[in-house]
Amino acid sequence: MISILFVLALLASVPENVTEFDLANGIHVVSRTVPGGEVEGLSFFLIGGSRVLEESNQGIEAFALEAAMTGSDTYPDERWREIMDVTLASWNASYNYDYSRYHLKCLSEDLPLLLDGFADCLLEPELDSVAVGRVQNSQLVALQSELEDPDNRVWLVANKGFMGTGHPYLLRPDGIPSTLSSFDVDDAREWLSSRIKSGNIVITHAGPTPPEQLAELLEASFGRIPEGGDVIPSVPEFGIDRDTVIAETDETLSAYCVVKFKAPPAGNADLPAYITACLVVDEMLWQVLRTDNALTYAVFGGSTNSYRRNWGYMYISTTEPVLSATLMTGVFRDVASGNVDQSLVTGVANNYRTTQGINAQSMDTQCWMLGSGYISAGDWRAPYLLQESLENMTVYEISRALSDWAGTAGWGIIADGAIVDFAEFEPWSLKGE
C-alpha cells in the first residue's frame, strides 16, 4: 500500500512539487519532480554512519556497499558492466558521520532497469572474490592518497582534540588502512544482511519522473527490502572541555591549520543564527587574512548543518600559522562580540540565496538536501527553510548565538618542524580576554 502525501510549499524558498510517501515495507521516499529534462537523480541513504561502526570495522559499510555494486545473482558482473556501458549511468558513493549515500545519475528511460539492478545488488550481491578484491584495493589506494595530502589530513588531526576520546564521530566511515585491508567477502555479506533493512533507509529523488510512476518503480525494486532496522544511538556532545592544539610535522612548504568548535545540533532554534555567524566569520577571514594581510591563498570558515551534532570551523593554509591563528581568533571574537557591520550579515544572506539557486540546477544536490534535511532534522524542508531564516538576521542574533555556543576550541596543525617552531603553538582561545 502506497500512501502519497503532497506537500504544499508555503514559503518562497521551499520548492514546489515535492512529494513524500512510504513504500509498503516502510522505506521513506522524498521526491522533487523537476519537469522538462531527461536527467534523473536518486539517492539511497543508509542511516547510521559512524554510530554503527566500531574501532575494528571502520570502513566496513563503504567496503560492503562498493563490493555489492560489482554485480548480483540476476545482474552478474559482466551483465552489470554492460548495463553501465549502455546507460552511461554513474554512481557516486559518500560515507559520513550520520549516513552512507549512494547516488545514481541516469536518463529517465534507464531508471526502471537501474533501480532493479541496484536493489538486486544490495539484496542478492554476487560478491565475486576477484571483483571484491579489486574494489578493496581501489579503496585502499584512494584512502592512502588522501591521507598523504596534509590538506586533507589536517581535518582529522583537529578531530582528535575537538571530539574527545571515544566520540563516535572519530570512527572513520571510509575506513583506515588497517581495517579496510582486513575485510573479506564474508564480512561484506554479513554487513549487508544486517544493515539493508527498511528502517535504516531513506530514498530521495529529483528529476522528471512523476511521483506515481516513481512509487511503482521503487515498490518493485526496493519494496523487496526486508522490514526492520537498527537502533542507532544518539550522538553525544563533543568531549572538548578546554582549548587544545594538536600538531603534526610533515615535509610541507605550507602549514595547514584547522580549528573546530561546538555548534547547535540539528533542530535547535539557534542554528540559523549560528550558521549566519559562521558565514560572516568566513567573509571576515577572507578580508583580514587574505585581502589585508596576504597570509594565504585559502582561508575559510563555516559550520556544518546537516549532522545530528554540528560544529563550526576555520581553516587556513599558510607559511605563518602562528600569526594566522592569532588573526583568525581575532576575527572570531569580533563576530562573537557583535563588532561587525549589518551589511555583512545581509551580504551573506544574499550569497546564500544565490547558492541555493545554483543548487536547484543540480539533481544530485537536490537529492542530498532533501535527504540530509530529513535525516538530520526530521524534515526535508530544513535546508530550504534556512534561507528564510537568514533573510532578516541581525548582528545581535548572530553574535549571541556564536558566543553562547562556541566555547572551547580544538586546533589541528600540520607543518614542517624544520621550518616552523612548534613551541609557539598554543591553544588559541576563541573567547575574549
Partner: protein
C-alpha cells in the same frame, strides 16, 4: 534606440540544445562573441568571460603571469577602487564568483539572482575592462599566489606533473599555469598591462550568459555595454606553435602515494587548432576503449592486474595527447606495462573495433552531452568556454553529434595508424619509491 542596438549585433544564430533551453550566438562589431542560453529552471543568471590566453602565451620570464592576472581581476577597477570595495559590492549583489587559469584558457565567472542581471553585467564589464593593477595590491598578491604554489607542491602527484611538463612539451613553462616562484615574486603593474593590452580584448574573448533571462531582452543591453570594449587585434594566440613533442620512446619513473602504482603511456595527438578532422574518431575511440565490457577493460582489469584503466584523447590546441593509463599494485608495474603495451598492439588487429561497440561509444557520447547540459550554470562556466576556445568558436561543439555519428571502424583505424602505430611514446611509471630517473 533599441533598433540601433540590434543592428550592432553582427549575426545571431539560435540553437536548441538537447535539454529544454535554447542558445543564441552572436558577435559584436568589436569581435566579442556572445553566447546566451535561456534556462528558467532556477532564478539565477551566470556570466562567464572566457579569454584565449593562459600559460601557453607565456615566456620563461613571464611564466605564471597569466594566472597572476586572473587574481588581479578580483581586485580594484575603475568602478570599485580596491578589493574591499569589490568584496562589498559582491555581497550587495549576493554574487558567487570564481576564475580559473589553464594552459590554454582563462575564465572568469559570476552568478547572481536573475533580478540583478544588469548589475551583474555591469560588474563583469568593469572588472574585465578596467582593472587598476594597483602596485600595492600586486605586491600583496605575490604572497597569496606563492601560498597557492606551495599548496600545489604538497600534492602527491606534484613530481609527476613536473616530469610530464618537462618531457612532453617543447617549452615546459607554457604548460605550467602556476608558473615559477621567481616570476611570481617579481610580478608588477607593467607586465599586467602588457597582458591586458595583448590578450584582454573583445576580439580575443567571449561572453557567455546562461540562466533565467530572455535572450531577446538582454542581447541589446549586452551589446550596448560590451560594444564599448575597444577592439584590440593584437593577440598572437592563434599563431602560437604546437607545444608538444615526443621524439623517441622514453620511460621515466616518478614517486607517488603509498600503495599505489600507476602507468601512463602518452603519444602526441591531433591538434584542435588545425587537425580537427581527426578528433571525432579520436573521441569515439576513447569512449570505445573506456567501455567496461570492452577488450581493453576485460583484459587489463577484469582478467588482469589493473584496478582501473582508461584510454583517451585530450582535445587541446597546443598540447593534445593520447593517453593509455591505469592504476595497479606498485609491485605489478613492470608486468602491467608489458600487458598494456600488448593491448595497444592488439588494437591494430582486424576486427578489434566492432560496429556494435562503436554504436555504444557514440551513444555514450550523446548521453554524456545530455548529462553535461543538466546545469546551465555549468554550461556557462565549463562546457561552452572549453569548446569555444578549443574549437575556435562554438561551431565545432554544435556539429559534434553529427560528426561523431559518422565515425566508422575504418576512421578509427586510420586515426590509430596516423597517431599511435610505430609512433614514439613517453611512459611514466609511478610507484611509492619511484624517483625521477630516465
Amino acid at each position: 534606440m533599441r533598433l540601433l542596438k540590434g543592428i550592432m549585433v553582427l549575426y545571431t544564430l539560435i540553437l536548441m540544445l538537447s535539454m529544454n533551453f535554447s542558445v543564441v550566438e552572436s558577435s559584436l562589431p568589436n569581435g566579442l562573441d556572445i553566447i546566451i542560453g535561456e534556462d528558467h529552471s532556477s532564478p539565477i543568471v551566470t556570466m562567464c568571460v572566457v579569454v584565449n590566453t593562459g600559460a601557453t602565451c607565456e615566456t620563461p620570464e613571464t611564466n605564471g603571469l597569466a594566472h597572476f592576472y586572473e587574481h588581479m581581476f578580483f581586485k580594484g577597477n575603475t568602478a570599485l577602487s580596491d578589493q574591499t570595495a569589490y568584496n562589498n559590492r559582491m555581497r550587495e549583489l549576493g554574487m558567487i564568483r570564481n576564475g580559473t587559469t589553464g594552459s590554454e584558457v582563462v575564465r572568469y565567472y559570476l552568478t547572481v539572482s536573475s533580478d540583478l542581471f544588469s548589475e551583474g553585467l555591469e560588474f563583469m564589464y568593469d572588472a574585465i575592462t578596467g582593472p587598476l593593477f594597483d602596485p600595492e595590491e600586486i605586491v600583496r598578491e605575490r604572497s597569496v599566489i606563492m601560498n597557492e604554489y606551495e599548496r600545489g607542491t604538497c600534492n602527491p602527484f606534484w613530481n609527476l606533473r613536473l616530469m610530464q611538463e618537462e618531457v612532453l612539451t617543447v617549452e615546459p613553462w607554457r604548460s605550467s599555469a602556476i608558473g615559477s616562484p621567481e616570476v611570481i615574486m617579481a610580478a608588477d603593474q607593467e607586465t599586467m598591462l602588457m597582458f591586458q593590452e595583448k590578450y584582454y580584448t573583445p576580439d580575443n574573448s567571449a561572453l557567455i550568459i546562461t540562466g533565467d533571462i530572455n535572450p531577446e531582452t538582454v542581447l541589446p543591453a549586452v551589446a550596448d555595454l560590451f560594444g564599448q570594449w575597444e577592439y584590440g587585434g593584437r593577440s598572437d594566440y592563434f599563431f602560437l606553435d604546437l607545444n608538444i613533442s615526443i621524439e623517441k620512446d622514453t620511460i621515466l619513473h616518478a614517486g607517488g602515494p603509498e600503495g599505489m602504482g600507476m602507468i601512463r603511456i602518452v603519444y602526441v595527438g591531433p591538434s584542435m587548432a588545425d587537425q580537427q578532422n581527426w578528433t571525432y574518431a579520436a573521441d569515439v575511440w576513447g569512449q570505445y576503449m573506456g567501455r567496461m565490457t570492452g577488450e581493453f577493460h576485460n583484459d587489463l582489469v577484469a582478467n588482469g592486474p589493473f584496478l582501473d584503466v582508461y584510454a583517451s584523447y585530450y582535445s587541446q590546441r597546443f598540447e593534445p595527447t593520447i593517453t593509455f593509463a591505469g592504476t595497479l599494485d606498485p609491485s605489478l608495474v613492470d608486468e602491467g606495462l608489458v600487458m598494456m603495451r600488448e593491448e595497444i598492439q592488439d588494437m591494430f588487429r582486424e576486427g578489434y573495433f566492432t560496429s556494435s561497440g562503436i554504436e555504444t561509444a557514440s551513444e555514450q557520447l550523446r548521453r554524456e552531452r545530455l548529462f553535461r547540459e543538466e546545469s546551465s550554470r555549468d554550461m556557462a562556466t565549463e562546457t561552452f568556454p572549453f569548446w569555444w576556445v578549443e574549437g575556435g568558436g562554438l561551431e565545432y561543439y554544435n556539429n559534434y553529434p553529427d560528426s561523431l555519428a559518422a565515425v566508422t571502424a575504418g576512421d578509427i583505424s586510420l586515426y590509430l595508424d596516423r597517431w599511435v602505430k610505430d609512433r614514439p611514446s613517453a611512459v611514466f611509471l609511478v610507484t611509492p619509491e619511484g624517483e625521477w630517473v630516465e
